[in-house]
Amino acid sequence: MSLLSKVKEAWVGLRAGRVTLAYPAAPAPAPERFRGRPIFDAAKCIGCAGCANNCPAREILVYDVCQEIRILKYLGRRCTYCGRCADVCPENAITMSREFETATPRIGDLQQRIELFMSTCQRCGRCFDPPSKLDELKLRGYRFDDLENERWIFRSSAYLEGQPVVDDVPLEMD
């Protein structure tokens, strides 16, 4: 009886076929509408910082070294792949790729850093015409985010310069 049930079970199992995906031995590309890692195209970017100001995760940092050079740093570590940066970018410099194989032992591997040459407007220094209501929330002018400590600075007086990000939490163990 028990042997018969085992045979029956084996037969059911064989008939069901194989459902398991062969990944990672075989590639399994993401579906067409999947949003993966945003890719920045330095040639198209005009450095308006629209992406930085609309990113919900405050993921893109902007640092104005001087009037002519603006550094745009995408951290990658807390990006939610929401695609908002690609939506607001007036130059379509950001593409949401279908890349999902982004696991890494070093979080710095996910960074993208663009150094941009900025032309100078004599009136405001940085010009960007907001095309919609959402874009009016944008901050214009100069930005001095903390690139080393990966912090977004929004005219905050609570921020203390040089605060480390890692290992700054005192933990008492009982």
Binding site: T20, L21, R78, I107, Q111, D168, V169
Partner: protein, 178 residues
């Protein structure tokens, strides 16, 4: 070196302990999804265990929260060495969209040392499998940091002697040269 160590230490199978320190449950669902027969993480010897004392690997989801940081740390210390920590999801990797909230301390690496990061919100089950396969040395790392610099800065140099007065406007005669 880490990979060789992994291969040596974890040659047979990884028992994973699934720790959520305050995520939204999205990543938990994807981790459990990766354990279903369709993705079948058990073919790499991965087994979900209920206690950190039985585990080789801790899968961290969610940011390090003020309320759960201590519990997370204690769970990490309860695991027998050698131990690996995977940060799954953008919350665990970098604090996620809540990173500047008063209740969130930040990424889990503030509390426990993280060995592998799997970003995504939530990461696809394939991405989690890829991360595990990377740790086991079955696949190669695909991601590299990108950096683009403006090589030559086209800063125009204005010389007052090149300014000409033409029909009521001042024209810079060398303007097309830069």
């Amino acid at each position: 070196m880490l990979r060789q160590l992994c291969r040596k230490m974890f040659g047979r199978s990884l028992w994973v302990y699934h720790a959520n320190s305050g995520g939204c449950n999205g990543c938990d669902i994807e981790v459990l999804n990766a354990l279903t027969p369709y993705y079948d993480a058990e073919r790499f010897g991965i087994k979900l265990v209920g206690s950190p004392r039985h585990a080789d690997v801790m899968l961290c989801q969610g940011p390090a929260m003020r309320s759960t940081a201590r519990a997370l740390r204690r769970a990490y210390e309860a695991m027998p060495a050698p131990k690996l920590v995977f940060a799954i999801g953008s919350c665990a990797c970098g604090g996620g969209v809540w990173h500047d909230s008063y209740a969130v301390l930040g990424p889990v690496e503030k509390i426990v040392p993280v060995d592998f990061y799997i970003p995504g919100c939530p990461p696809r089950p394939e991405a989690i499998l890829y991360g595990v396969a990377l740790a086991l040395g079955l696949v190669d790392k695909k991601i590299v940091p990108a950096e683009v610099r403006a090589e030559v800065l086209p800063v125009p140099k204005y010389h007052p002697e090149d300014l000409r007065r033409e029909e009521e406007v001042t024209v810079y005669t060398k303007a097309e040269k830069f």
